[in-house]
Symmetry: C2
Subunit: 334 residues, 2 copies
């Protein structure tokens, strides 16, 4: 193979508010690489096939002096996220390279060899069968304490985490109330079995919960006003799975005034991060879950963009909720 | 015994904001009772010795159309709370009569026969050895998951619950940060072993926690600004024991904007009510705890007022934090 351009997505500017599709990250083709001859120094070279765009990435686009759970992206360097790649040279197959076409790695730390006996599309392994699917699967097992006949409320229900949560809840016999931000997404919610689906932009969450609640479980992907409504219409001993709060990632937080419900209703709020639950549930997940996806029992949608240069736009759309299904970047073919 | 006045404290007016010492409840002596001859209809008659004034009572002084965890006090009738009484006639000794001098009861439902082998003052059984002590003892066992060397922050540390929590934490080898609302209370905090005691009215909670944190455990009696500071300076995997939020009982709630910390630091918030933990811990508590109080290991302070007619003032002081130690009303002697 002759030398090729190694396309990369560089973190260019810390955003204030929503990321700018043209400024926050920039696509760069200045690096030239010859995959056949580049020195590997005992490692291996991976060609990225598909890479994930996730809401949490906004948190990494920050001033490095601000501490948080995930490391900040260094300015001027390629950003990184979950991805599926194929090994070009060397002995180890692997996952999780950076936002660049070719990556040279030393060992399998943080990587997983995908057998894919189920024959899923590779992109599924950064979505329903990857980190978002794990988030739903792990935390539901760990914290939901769900009982048949209970009611769960899921925000961002059409997203990859929310839609997995909904389908788990339905398979366990719960009543599901779910919100999303467009009529198209609400239709998708109905197609995966949601009992009460609504567009939070046109219908007040508090009104829906007043009518269809109280809720025993709240899966929180958004925080803010939805969290406040969930507190108000929670039943005694409700469990709140605090997965994310996209409503505060790009705008001023909505102030919550009704936390006294936590005491008076004995609500438990479980903040969690998926990687803390990996050790306990990862093997079980890969044994059970991709099979359910492959059989068609668990449905998912994807919003795939072609080429790394679409990364800035994809990041922006995910923060704005404009993506239609799990956002992925198709980097190259096998 | 000749007929006597049966003093009673009547719920007279639903307060807006702080309770009014002269209007919210009124002391009434219109009921005449002859303890020797009043018909008991198979029950028994109890003379109240001492009765407890607690912060949570504010929640019962509400419009009955508002639902909450404790039943509303009915207007025009005597209010009720934890108390110690002595049986005058009939076969059953008992606890927990209403705010009136004499009470006729049918059975022991909701009551406990106090053996008091430890010889504590009766008032201790509505304070350190009663509901507030149980609150600290039960919930710490259930939710704190405390490890030696960890740091706990306790608000309303000089109150009956807070001071019990502090002494449990010290006995388990934790570093204790605690706040209270006067210099006198801060001195009491130091006397029971608090490592970092401060007056939240003159020193910012956030500043203290920035310097002395991060905290692994937060015992919340107040909510509002203290809760916000605790979220900000919590360590990863912190446990928040949500016991009460007196800052919101009488005034507009302080809006909380930093709940995203719950997700990013994987914080767990445990809302609880003491009576939900009774079944699990009550016997253990009475076996172990009064002994530790009687031995002097566990210290407490009391703010005792003489006579039921002081009830309105005592209620007001507890809501304002003006009481010096556990507030009790001494109703009569044995």
């Amino acid at each position: 193979m002759a030398p090729v351009k190694n396309g990369r997505v560089i973190f260019n500017e810390i955003p204030s508010g929503y990321p700018d599709p043209n400024k926050t990250v920039i696509y760069d083709e200045s690096e030239i690489i010859d995959p056949d001859t580049v020195p590997l120094n005992g490692g291996f070279i991976v060609k990225t096939l598909v890479i994930s765009i996730d809401p949490y990435m906004r948190g990494r686009m920050r001033d490095p002096s601000v501490k948080s759970y995930s490391p900040p992206f260094p300015l001027g360097e390629p950003i990184a996220n979950h991805a599926v790649g194929v090994v070009i040279r060397s002995e180890n197959p692997s996952v999780k390279p950076a936002f660049q076409t070719y990556t040279i790695l030393k060992d399998l730390t943080g990587l997983r060899i995908l057998e894919n006996k189920e024959g899923l599309p590779w992109s599924a392994y950064v979505g329903i069968a990857g980190m978002p699917g794990q988030t739903a699967y792990y935390a539901w097992k760990e914290y939901a304490a769900a009982k048949k006949g209970e009611t769960v409320f899921v925000t961002a229900g059409a997203g990859p985490v929310g839609s997995a949560v909904i389908q788990i809840a339905k398979s366990e016999g719960l009543k599901v109330i779910a919100s999303a931000g467009s009529e198209e997404k609400v239709a998708f919610l109905r197609s995966i079995g949601v009992d009460v689906a609504f567009n939070y932009k046109t219908t007040k969450t508090a009104e829906v919960l007043a009518k269809e609640g109280p809720i025993e479980i709240y899966w929180d992907n958004v925080g803010g006003e939805s969290l406040e409504a969930a507190l108000e219409y929670a039943n005694k001993n409700a469990r709140f799975l605090e997965c994310g709060m996209i409503s505060v990632y790009n705008t001023e937080p909505y102030p919550i005034k009704n936390l006294m419900n936590v005491v008076s209703k004995e609500i438990k709020l479980y903040g969690f991060l998926v990687f803390s639950l990996h050790e306990k549930y990862e093997e079980e997940f890969y044994r059970e879950w991709p099979k359910r996806v492959a059989s068609g029992e668990i449905k998912y949608t994807e919003d795939a963009k072609q080429g790394l240069k679409e990364t800035g736009q994809a990041i922006y759309e995910v923060q704005k909720g404009l993506n239609k299904g799990k956002s992925v970047i198709v980097v190259s073919s096998e």
